[in-house]
């Protein structure tokens, strides 16, 4: 009986824990709505949440919202795959080979610190104003976090495990597949998470390059005509997209790094158990 009770307590506190992160956003939105209703804020400067949502529904019915969102998602994903993939390959090569590390690393570190905004004129000159320019900018943004984390992950794999693998005559391929890659994976996945964050921020910038579609376009266009409802809607969409990509990344971590999550459950009698 006692056991069941503690169990229920446990479930209750679990529910509380799950809802805790949402407390502040929900409270903020409620406060915002109330502030608008009581005219504490000027509605032309900050529309109420309900206005923003109805505006969103209106744009959705016109088909504008989902079209712009899909186009943005396409640009973001393509940029992530290209930039993230390239960053992974470079990070991997530099993590493994000392020569290429000497050759490339300092150059990459130099390029890394250039703000993306500063590169827009160059990108327009080289790649024009089409999709490739926008995707390249996102790719550039995603490249560095993936590079740094892959590189760091691979170089910081426990050298004792690598020595074990070598002394147990693992082939180069097996050494990578069974020891180095899984050892670097936590750091690499952290890079994926970072890259996802950078992906959205660079996309906003990228979509100001002569875009006629995408969420970034929607927002800059609304900015020109002080359409606050759409501006706030776009901000909310970015927050939502950012949150959901982070959610996916976190769950990918949970799935791929299951071994890290498993606690030592059988502490009782483990020392003596298993002996004859």
């Amino acid at each position: 009986m006692e056991n069941i009770e503690t169990n229920e307590n446990y479930h209750f506190s679990l529910k509380l824990k799950n809802s805790l992160p949402w407390l502040i956003p929900v409270f903020l939105i409620a406060f915002w709505q109330v502030a608008c209703n009581l005219s504490w804020v000027n509605e032309t400067l900050l529309p109420s949440p309900i206005d923003v949502v109805t505006n969103g529904i209106k744009l959705f019915k016109k088909g504008e919202l989902q079209e712009n969102m899909s186009i943005s998602l396409y640009r973001a994903t393509a940029g992530l795959l290209i930039g993230g993939g390239l960053g992974f390959v470079l990070g991997f090569i530099n993590g493994v080979s000392h020569t290429t590390r000497l050759l490339f690393d300092s150059t990459i570190q130099m390029l890394r610190n250039i703000p993306h905004l500063a590169l827009i004129p160059l990108i327009i000159l080289w790649l024009g104003i089409g999709e490739s320019a926008k995707i390249s900018l996102v790719a550039l943004g995603c490249l560095f976090p993936m590079y740094i984390n892959t590189y760091h992950g691979i170089t910081s794999v426990d050298p004792k495990l690598i020595e074990m693998g070598k002394s147990y005559e693992l082939s180069k391929k097996d050494l990578f597949v069974k020891v180095i890659f899984p050892g670097a994976l936590p750091t690499i996945l952290m890079g994926v998470r970072y890259a996802l964050g950078v992906m959205w921020t660079t996309l906003i910038v990228a979509e100001t390059i002569s875009a006629s579609s995408g969420i970034g376009y929607m927002s800059t266009n609304a900015e020109q005509f002080m359409d606050m409802k759409t501006i706030v809607l776009c901000i909310l969409i970015y927050a939502l997209l950012g949150k959901s990509s982070d959610f996916i990344a976190k769950n990918l971590e949970d799935i791929f790094l299951e071994w890290r999550a498993i606690e030592r459950r059988d502490t009782n009698g483990s020392e003596a158990s298993g002996d004859k």
Binding site: E67, S70, A76, T77, G130, Q224, F225, I255
Partner: protein, 323 residues
């Protein structure tokens, strides 16, 4: 539980990919057909090319002549000049100031056509209850403007008309969205701006124009510019563009209600605002003339005299008079 989570993530990822592929298809749609010669036209919302775009006749007529028109929207003139310099835009519809700045920075462009002005919708905004009653009252006040745009020229002209020197006011350089907040909060006393923003502010912020372009002679005229090498090779095409946009402009002047409805939906502005800005301007498009070149030269001179441009520009060297 664990498997449920896994399949949920897989479904989410598949959905993500599906949406992204759909987005890819959307961007492919306007790729255009291959047998026609592509012409890239840069515009800003609410301008002459925008009218041609929404009327739809322009694209059809151009297609009949063997051209595939692609409209590219830009957020401001500076971005359009950048695209023009890199050859990504063949014809750009801009205001009167960005081409002058672009010429000064070495962009090789040619004026191909001149449009109408927004003289009545461009000027210095003040609140109706403001203590500023005349141009002379601007002395000692804070005025918002955006560097490198017509608003800078407007303000310079207004000070000249009022007989004030440039140091008599505090110049506050702000982007239009930042300026709108600063103006409505009273952080600046006046705001040099143009339609449709002016119409919008007049209506929502209980404001009026202290002075407009008819007085200051800062007319805010539209131009069509093209990269110099492109313009010299495509004179026939330029003539066609002038001819067909001119027809669209005539249509626009006769069909205000249609235009207002479409524009207010696209720009997300109220019909009242759009009506005000439309009714006080006349749409037109014609080849370049000596008088408009003189107007442009005046801008170049004023900017040079005030050290905004570091190079003297002779506008007439960059003009094509098409007949």
């Amino acid at each position: 539980m664990k498997n449920l989570k896994k399949s949920f993530i897989v479904v989410l990822l598949l959905f993500w990919c599906g949406v992204a592929v759909y987005g890819w298809h959307l961007t492919r749609e306007d790729a255009g057909s291959s047998s026609l010669k592509n012409v890239v036209v840069g515009y800003q919302a609410g301008d002459e090319f925008y009218v041609s775009k929404i009327r739809g006749q322009f694209v059809k007529k151009m297609k009949a002549k063997g051209y595939n028109v692609k409209f590219k929207e830009f957020q401001n003139g500076a971005a359009m000049m950048q695209a023009l310099a890199s050859g990504n835009v063949d014809y750009a519809r801009v205001g009167d100031t960005p081409p002058v700045s672009a010429l000064a920075s070495g962009t090789k462009l040619t004026y191909v056509a001149a449009g109408g002005t927004k003289a009545k919708g461009s000027g210095i905004l003040i609140h109706k209850n403001s203590s500023i009653k005349t141009l002379a009252d601007l002395k000692g006040k804070k005025v918002a403007y955006t560097k490198g745009t017509s608003s800078q020229y407007m303000l310079l002209r207004a000070l000249k008309v009022a007989g004030l020197s440039n140091d008599d006011i505090t110049w506050v350089n702000l982007d239009s969205d930042a300026a709108s907040v600063a103006y409505s909060k009273g952080k600046v006393d006046a705001w040099a701006n143009w339609d449709p923003s002016v119409a919008q502010v007049e209506i929502t912020e209980n404001s009026k124009l202290l002075v407009d372009g008819t007085t200051t002679k800062a007319l805010n005229r539209s131009f069509i510019v093209s990269p110099t090498t492109y313009a010299s090779k495509n004179k026939t095409l330029s003539k066609l563009i002038i001819k067909y946009t001119e027809q669209d402009m005539k249509w626009a002047n006769k069909n205000h209600s249609k235009l207002i409805k479409k524009m207010s939906a696209d720009l997300k502005l109220s019909k009242k605002v759009v009506r005000r800005s439309i009714t006080r301007r006349t749409f037109s498009m014609s080849s370049m003339s000596k008088s408009v070149v003189k107007e442009e030269q005046e801008i170049a001179n004023v900017f040079y005299d005030n050290n905004i441009l570091t190079k003297k520009i002779n506008v007439s060297k960059h003009v094509q008079y098409l007949k």
